[in-house]
Symmetry: C2
């Protein structure tokens, strides 16, 4: 299954850029995960670009108002996608102002990493760590502890 992670603009905070690099590197070999940035801007513009870039993918919008799942639940969802021969999924992280209502409505799942607002570059690191964690569980690697 191809995993596309879409975000607005490359991280400008150094720690976030390094965190993104770390999990990108760790995911290599474990998963076909690609990270792509769309141009930043206001919420509407960014959402429109994210929608264009995710055409043909199962769309997962990351948004604090979405469904908050445990890591095990996310692994089960992943297995379901695999069982249903889903080939391409795209995670979308908005810019500072979050996603438009239109993007949320056009998504197959709105996934929340908690109801608290997070700096969007930090949210990208949290998402990548979670995708990595899911893959270590799918691959039976010793990383996750319940």
């Amino acid at each position: 299954m191809e995993v596309l992670v879409l975000a607005a603009d490359k991280p400008s905070l150094e720690y976030a850029a390094r965190g993104v690099e770390l999990y990108k590197k760790r995911l290599r070999g474990l998963s076909k995960t690609e990270l792509r940035y769309v141009r930043g801007g206001c919420s509407k513009e960014v959402s429109a670009r994210l929608l264009r870039a995710s055409e043909g993918y199962v769309r997962i919008a990351v948004d604090e108002r979405g469904k908050n799942m445990s890591t095990r639940e996310l692994v089960n969802l992943w297995k379901e996608w695999q069982l249903n021969s889903v080939r391409r999924i795209a995670f979308m992280i908005g810019a500072a102002e979050g996603h438009s209502d239109e993007l949320r409505a056009a998504s197959d799942l709105v996934l929340s990493f908690g109801r608290h607002t997070m700096q969007h570059e930090l949210a990208l690191v949290v998402l990548l760590e979670q995708i990595y964690r899911v893959h270590t569980l799918l691959g039976g690697l010793p990383y996750h502890r319940d």
Copy 2:
């Protein structure tokens, strides 16, 4: 109000160490927030050290099985603490294996940053960014957007 953030061992992941430094620096001047590390080890040992280090403080255990609050709810809780003349609060982040049941029971609040499991050093960055965000809201600074 004094804010003590307790975690087990200094972050070993470079990005997490840098993220911690960034928010520590940003919090200076805005808040009396101190970060202190206890020695690592197994869950029971670390929890016992965290409990000793937080004696006399309102204790907030950070744990995925706790109460997940929005940033605005956290700000309101903070204001309540201030109204009630709470002088010292301590946030506690466990090591890789999380907190003991004893620590959770001894805490005034178990606060969750989502039901997903997060690397504990990343959770420390998320916590510090959130404490910073709360202070920008309390101080009326332009950082948070709803």
